[in-house]
């Protein structure tokens, strides 16, 4: 097992544009081959226009135990959302 190819996370930007999205992972000996393999594994059905690969070990993730303090405070900021403000029906362009 000492020679196992490292694991990479694959991000693809789809035909329809917008941001790269995580689509899955694969193994490859280095970054160049990870891109090639990603092309052969994850874009077989015309899914992509751009590929990013990142070594899985290089990803830093938030800790699940921090979920409450990281994300709950945003729940009370309802005024950040446009629907918070009722607008008169006969005023247009808002």
């Amino acid at each position: 097992m000492k020679n196992e190819w490292p694991l990479w996370e694959v991000f693809i930007r789809s035909q329809h544009g917008l941001a790269h999205r995580h689509v899955g992972s694969l193994h490859a000996p280095d970054a160049t081959m990870a891109i090639n393999n990603a092309r052969d594994v994850y874009t077989r059905r015309n899914e992509g226009t751009s590929i990013w690969v990142v070594k899985s070990v290089d990803i830093t993730a938030s800790h699940p135990d921090d979920k409450a303090e990281l994300f709950d405070p945003a729940q009370s900021k309802v005024y950040r959302h446009p629907t918070f403000f009722p607008m008169p029906d006969d005023v247009k362009g808002l």
């Binding site: 097992m1 020679n3 190819w5 899955g24 992972s25 694969l26 594994v41 077989r44 699940p64």
Partner: protein, 328 residues
């Protein structure tokens, strides 16, 4: 199913501590479990076994159909079959990746398969004797697989559910190409029709066995259902498969090889004959027609490829070292 003999161990009420209760609550609330979340060790191990069995089934499952790639009778069918068997490799890859999030390496899983410690679906230990078998596999085997896999897109473990979504999207093509192939045979010469009937005769019962032992004998499925990594029982899925497939067979003008098969208006389902579970357990134990051959083929492919995998790692190491030396 593709993971039909997963032993989940016996859940003991006393062992369920507060943490595990919170974990179960999350599952009951429909919140996905992710790789970094706390999970009971039994959940982790059961998932590793279930997902890796599923992955192994995809990989070994390439072989029976791969047997016909070089003999596909038209260039169109050859292209479809190549793409399909390649998809199975992809499915294996997605599933191994999902299992890897649980802290086991792909090489370890492959080693478990080759050493006979891991199982794969019994269905792939039957031989593909004629071209019609390729159609029967797509229609019946992939049809059964989809039935099991669609619910798994909603299973409790996030990486597994996401892999299944990808698999299901691709799997619909597999079942259709199988039925399309059978349709061409059914509309073909008498020899082709006979070939189609013969394939149905041989694949029907193994396809029903794919769902695993009857619920009464499947003592561990209660825990898996509570964990939402198994969403329907074996018998529920099997019944669904029979109900769906019988009219499809009729449309093809083929006869399902079961004299006891009969529509039961009261139940709103087909009744069907007894399954030969002795045959099933025998195949699971390694005594099916092709168990030895399938494993040997996989082992040989792996061993023959060792130099390739090793050399690419060696090159990557050398190239990185050269880049560092140049930068210094």
């Amino acid at each position: 199913m593709y993971a039909q003999m997963v032993d989940t161990g016996t859940p003991s009420a006393a062992a369920v501590d507060a943490q595990e209760a919170r974990f179960q609550q999350r599952i009951d609330d429909g919140i996905r479990i992710e790789a970094q979340d706390w999970m009971p060790e039994r959940y982790r191990r059961t998932l590793i076994r279930q997902i890796s069995q599923h992955a192994h089934s995809e990989i070994v499952g390439q072989l029976p159909e791969g047997n016909w790639i070089t003999r596909a009778p038209s260039l169109k069918r050859k292209a479809i079959l190549l793409a399909k068997v390649q998809d199975e490799a992809g499915h294996g890859l997605y599933l191994y990746s999902a299992a890897e999030t649980l802290g086991i390496s792909r090489d370890q899983m492959v080693d478990d398969l080759h050493a006979g410690r891991a199982k794969y679906s019994s269905i792939f230990n039957y031989p593909t004797l004629t071209w019609a078998d390729v159609g029967a596999i797509g229609w019946l085997v992939d049809g059964s697989a989809i039935m099991n896999q669609i619910p798994l897109c909603r299973c409790s473990y996030g990486p597994y559910a996401r892999a299944m979504i990808r698999v299901c999207k691709e799997e619909a093509f597999h079942m259709r190409q199988g039925y399309d192939l059978m349709l061409a045979l059914a509309r073909g010469t008498p020899a082709q029709q006979a070939m189609a009937q013969d394939a149905l005769n041989r694949w029907w019962w193994p396809s029903l066995m794919m769902f695993g032992p009857p619920d009464g004998d499947s003592v561990h499925s209660a825990q898996s259902q509570a964990w939402k990594i198994k969403l329907f029982t074996n018998d529920e899925l099997r019944q669904k498969m029979v109900d769906q497939t019988v009219p499809q067979a009729e449309y093809l003008g083929l006869t399902v090889p079961d004299p006891d098969l009969k529509w039961n208006a009261e139940r709103g389902h087909y009744d069907f004959g007894a399954i030969d579970w002795e045959e099933f357990y025998n195949v699971v134990k390694g005594n099916g027609p092709c168990n030895r051959e399938r494993l040997e083929t996989r082992r040989r492919a792996w061993d023959d490829g060792e130099w390739f995998r090793e050399a690419l790692v060696a090159h990557a190491g050398k190239a990185a070292a050269r880049a560092t030396a140049k930068a210094a």
